[in-house]
Symmetry: C2
Subunit: 217 residues, 2 copies
């Protein structure tokens, strides 16, 4: 049985040793919480979670082995009760949406202060889902935007990789006219006029990422 005064036990997952050290310092500057384990990728995170059963997990979105969203889902698949707070530099609305969708309890930006971090951890420990004003605002803008269909996502992914309409068509085994139809809808939803702007907007909003669309990184 956990008493009221027992410190909150925390797992930190980030591929930057420097930022991990910073998180540890911020967390442990107060006696009410302590870091019990650290990890640099999702595999280590799951391993550490099983061993230490932390009350709260702080997780970066961009990790070497898989995305933080996948990491959150993996942790929740293993323990649906786990409390994950995503901490990242990426404030694109789609990233926020997906992370919360995956089951994250909060979404913080790396610009946050130590006080903001600790108050968010305490709130999540109380069962709340605190969202900073800036993040909540971006999430709202995501909500008011029409969702892209699977096909439209396929389109924008290949557009960013430089595919022509014909190449996209043969990639999916459909007609070029069908591709044009999807693009038409895509442009309307993104509020753009051509494929180039569609690619840029998709990158800005976090719908796709350069590190997943390019050959390496």
């Amino acid at each position: 049985m956990m008493t009221m005064t027992a410190p909150i036990r925390i797992l930190v997952v980030d591929d930057h040793p420097g930022f991990r050290a910073g998180l540890v310092a911020m967390v442990e500057s107060s006696g009410e919480m302590k870091v019990v384990a650290e990890g640099g990728d999702c595999a280590q995170a799951i391993e550490a979670y099983k061993r230490h059963r932390p009350d709260i997990t702080l997780m970066d979105l961009r990790l070497p082995d898989m995305s933080g969203v996948e990491g959150v889902m993996a942790l929740r698949a293993h323990d649906p009760q786990c409390q994950v707070i995503v901490i990242t530099t990426y404030d694109a609305d789609e990233d926020i949406y997906r992370a919360l969708q995956a089951g994250a309890k909060s979404y913080l930006l790396k610009e946050m202060t130590a006080e903001e971090l600790r108050s968010a951890i305490l709130a999540v420990a109380r069962g709340e889902t605190p969202l900073p004003a800036q993040v909540a605002q971006r999430l709202a803008s995501r909500m008011s935007r029409p969702a892209l269909t699977r096909r439209e996502l396929d389109m924008v992914r290949l557009i960013v990789r430089g595919f022509s309409n014909k190449e996209i068509a043969s990639e999916f085994g459909i007609t070029e006219d069908t591709v044009k139809g999807h693009l038409k809808h895509l442009f309307v939803k993104l509020g753009v006029k051509d494929r180039t702007q569609a690619a840029i907007v998709a990158l800005q909003q976090g719908i796709i990422h350069l590190w997943s669309a390019s050959t390496d990184r």
Copy 2:
């Protein structure tokens, strides 16, 4: 007169309080160096530099008020002898090139360990310019690439903002044919076939950034 055993005095500039704390922890885990001041943007950095005259400045590339490259130039304009180490998540070759061009003595990625950081600081303090293998490799690939002219840079900037050839032409007061000519050269240099791919490649290589091309961020 500084003696051999006096600690190296360091200024840390990063807009993330968490990462600043991590850098401080990593630096001060050894007695041979200490952080004498911190800053969250370039203005604070220059202010702190004038007051504390640090031996070495650790600077992030992305800052709220101006880019880290501008920050390096500003510091060196004030004191050409200043020793700046850029520390960033961005490993695009153009970023590396510009930072070193601006006078940075080293370029480290945030994935580095505490040991790598400290050895780089010691090396710079000795007058060397240490570059991690990964960074050196990307810098080399940048070197083997033809440099873009000023006009070609103008082109790619407006392409990323969704301008058509006609709009680009009127923006600069030149003919659409001239724009086409520049684009032709640009495509060859970037190794692409159309404006969409040019935009993507320019973003990947760090020639331009979404946060400087879009309306906000």
